[in-house]
């Protein structure tokens, strides 16, 4: 099932704002399957092997990376 990209964006932004790199709630966890497809953890079948994506920002804030 294709992921809702707008919802994915909102979840990732919310987690970044709250510094939740690895949120506990499955509905907030982003995972990748073996084909490279992105899913929300709570929408997966149980037992499927996936990789959790850590949700920090993709670059340091100004002042940290320059």
């Amino acid at each position: 099932m294709a992921i809702d990209l707008n919802r994915l964006r909102q979840v990732v932004h919310d987690n970044q704002k709250n510094s939740q790199t690895t949120p506990a709630e499955p509905a907030k966890q982003v995972v990748v399957d073996r084909a490279g497809n992105i899913h929300m953890r709570n929408e997966l079948r149980t037992g499927e092997q996936v990789t959790e994506v850590q949700q920090d920002t993709f670059a340091g804030f100004r002042g940290h990376d320059e």
Binding site: V50, E52, Q54, F58, A59, G60
Partner: protein, 145 residues
């Protein structure tokens, strides 16, 4: 003879990365290259490897080509050498191959959205990070051809 890290990496690749992932040794490094299709239909080819000098696992974009002006840590979240900007603490690396794979896949979805939105005439900043530089992004997106 493989060391512990190399054995662990082989296990990760066998269990977590796409089945068509290839392995080669480049400049003494074990390099794993995988293909990923994005939700908007652009395929990416990305290499992941352990870089002892960097102290972790890098993910480097092989294809598609990305506009040079997007190779900016606050625009396309990509360094000039094609290494994906991984995030706050280490920037160029993740501590495990699996972490690098996961971050690279999310990054690819974001970059694909940037490409498609620009093609559609409605340029979008990188969608999966809250620390884009809007001014730099606007300039870079304007210059994309």
């Amino acid at each position: 003879m493989m060391n512990r890290r190399q054995r662990a990496d082989r296990t990760t690749v066998a269990n977590r990365l796409p089945r068509g992932t290839t392995h080669s040794v480049i400049q003494g490094r074990d390099v794993y290259v995988f293909k990923k299709n994005t939700e908007v239909g652009i395929q990416f080819e990305i290499a992941v490897y352990f870089d002892a000098d960097e102290g972790g696992y890098c993910a480097q974009l092989y294809s598609p080509a990305v506009e040079e002006s997007w190779k900016n840590a606050h625009v396309g979240h990509l360094f000039e050498d094609g290494v994906i900007c991984m995030g706050f603490s280490s920037m160029r690396t993740r501590p495990t191959l699996e972490d690098a794979y996961g971050r690279a896949c999310l990054w690819a979805e974001g970059m694909a959205i940037m490409m498609r939105s620009y093609e559609a005439g409605t340029p979008s900043e990188f969608p999966f990070s809250i620390n884009n530089d809007s001014t730099e992004a606007a300039n870079a997106l304007r210059g994309y051809r």
